[in-house]
Amino acid sequence: MGKTMLEISHLKTKYITRFHEDVYAVDDVSLKIEEGKSLGIAGESGCGKSTLALSLMGYYFAPLHYISGDIIVDGVKISDMKPEQVRHKILGNEIAYIPQAAMNALNPTQKIISFIEDVMHAHGIKMTKKEIYDMARERFAELGLPEEVLQKHAVELSGGMKQRTVIAISTILSPKVLIADEPSSALDVTSQKMVIRMMRELMEKGYIKSMIFITHELPLLYNVTDDIMVMYAGQMVEKGTAKEMVFDPVHPYSKGLMGSIIVPESGVRERKLTAIPGTPPNLKNPPKGCRFAERCPYATPTCSAMAIDEKVFDDDRMYRCLMSVRKIREAYGNGDGE
């Protein structure tokens, strides 16, 4: 067992809308990542994946607000730290972030190298321009990015190059945790592949110690991360290794999510592509009981009546459902879920 790089327990955060309504976007989420491991977070849009990514960093600004829960980065409890301290000491340094829209993540009127200098100076690193340039050049070369990029402005880079540049900048200080929020979703497959390869290299070369990869593309997670966590309506519904999650999902929602993947395999035309009926609940007033009950083919009246807790099964897997794993598997075996 490696050292725990990031641990969050019972994290709750909310958005406060313009009309002063609370939206509980991350509701009681716990997770743990060890050194050298990567965790994928999947779910449909609006399920709280991106909000979880933002909440993990321990730095909040309107409309996102912290409610409760602990965030521990390599033994340091950052949820107790002052926001300015988190920003100065943790962000960019211990936890790095790759935003969802990396296309616009770079200041259009600044050279890449000048932005890297700003990142270094923000963390009190005393280095001359020359030293920073040499260091950045070396790191860029290691990650297969041409040196010229440093002297360019963001507008002069292609989409894929921009994304990889953002990744290189985010990880320039060798953070312990990298949070990548849909880093490849807006790219074509070739650029996607390069981005994925780059993330793997970052791990292999030790420039990052652990990674959280957020996406709605499940096949990608299966290829990239060690573990997968599925989120639904602000909560974790199931967690396991990538293989278990793809081939043996337990929670009816995960099952449905995996069933809606389009895989180019033989017989794909014959196999019916399933979709989950209905829409996720409104998080302004989340349902009291199971949040998926309304859309679940196996739901019983008790599902909506009481809050469901996370349960552990098969040693280290977790799920959030009223039914027992055995019963669920039986139900799937009868082909009801197909």
């Binding site: 920003r87 935003p99 770079l106 259009p108 009127t109 923000a122 402005h153 900048i169």
Partner: protein, 334 residues
């Protein structure tokens, strides 16, 4: 570098083309005014003369002197060839002073008044807009709306209001002229002090009406930029707010520079009117005299000089823009 050359080449070409049209219009339009200024001048000389042939002779003499007996296009080329040498002919209304002489004594007053006033107004407007976007509160709710209100007062209205309050009611500033009427321009302290005192009201009247329009533009640009993705990304990299605000305002300024280029013409037009209210010895006042005296050599020289000033200012702004916004360079490269 090739992209830059193309950008600059195109810009300069279009400005030259504009200049050609401006020169033609400058010549033609004042000459289409009704009335005949030469006969007005001639009538002064023939006062008391009885002999009609002599009167005819005097008129023809003047007509030849001012060149108005030739066809329009010929007058234009004669005028142009002289103008290129800096000779704009003789003023009708202040005969025998040359137009070049009148212009050269007034143009610097205008440049010295308007250039700093517009730059200061633009700068203060942008500062106010940026503060209103970033700090909000009283800046956004009270000060900015106030200046927006003020900026909708026409230039002459503003000048009149300032004149009334500060020169007439409070008596803290002189009411007219560029310097004390009892002084002759020289390099003494008394003269400089007098010039500064006379400078205040016209200067602030231009500054005050410039601020609001610039501030509202800067405010919305800053709000837009403050919500840009790069702001969030920079925050999550731990970069300090002070630095991020620097990025934001630099980027928000860029459209404001274009805005300045676009509104320069209107601003200068308004400011010329302000000069008239204060009887400031600049181009505005000179132009008014020229219009009143149907002095079209002087009038077209004034408008020409103003056109050239606006064009130069515009060109400088646009060329500057190419240097400070890397996107322009990038767009020109393919």
């Amino acid at each position: 570098m090739k992209g830059f050359k193309k950008y600059y080449g195109q810009k300069i070409f279009w400005y030259l083309l504009t200049l050609v049209f401006a020169v033609i219009l400058n010549f033609v339009l004042p000459r289409m005014m009704p009335g005949d200024p030469v006969s007005a001048i001639a009538s002064r000389s023939i006062n008391g003369m009885q002999d009609s042939t002599a009167i005819q002779k005097v008129y023809q003499d003047y007509a030849e002197k001012f060149g108005i007996n030739k066809p329009m296009y010929e007058q234009f080329f004669i005028w142009l060839s002289h103008a290129l040498k800096g000779d704009f002919g003789v003023s009708f209304s202040q005969y025998p002073r040359t137009v070049a002489d009148i212009i050269s004594s007034s143009v610097w007053w205008t440049v010295a008044l308007q250039l700093p006033a517009i730059i200061v107004g633009w700068f203060l407007g942008n500062l106010l807009g940026a503060i209103a976007a970033y700090i909000r509160g009283v800046f956004d709710k009270v000060i900015l709306p106030f200046f927006l209100f003020v900026s909708n007062i026409p230039a002459f209205g503003m000048a009149t209001i300032l004149l009334f309050i500060f020169a007439i009611r409070l008596g803290v500033a002189p009411s007219s002229g560029g310097y004390g009427f009892d002084l002759i321009p020289n390099a003494s302290w008394v003269f400089v002090k007098s010039v500064i005192a006379h400078y205040q009201l016209p200067f602030w009247s231009i500054v005050l009406i410039t601020i609001g329009g610039q501030a509202i533009g800067m405010r919305s640009m800053s709000i837009y930029e403050l919500n840009a993705d790069y702001v969030k990304y920079s925050r999550f990299l731990g970069i300090k707010d002070r630095k991020i605000v620097g990025y934001v305002f630099r980027n928000a300024m860029l459209p404001q520079i274009t805005g300045l280029a676009l509104s320069l013409g209107t601003m200068i037009g308004g400011a010329l009117v302000a000069e008239i209210i204060f009887s400031y010895p600049g181009l505005g006042t000179t132009m008014l005299t020229a219009i009143k005296g149907q002095d079209y050599p002087l009038l077209s020289a004034c408008t020409l000089i103003i056109t050239i000033m606006v064009l130069i200012a515009n060109l400088v702004v646009e060329l500057l823009y190419g240097v400070i916004d890397p996107r322009v360079k990038a767009n020109q490269q393919d």
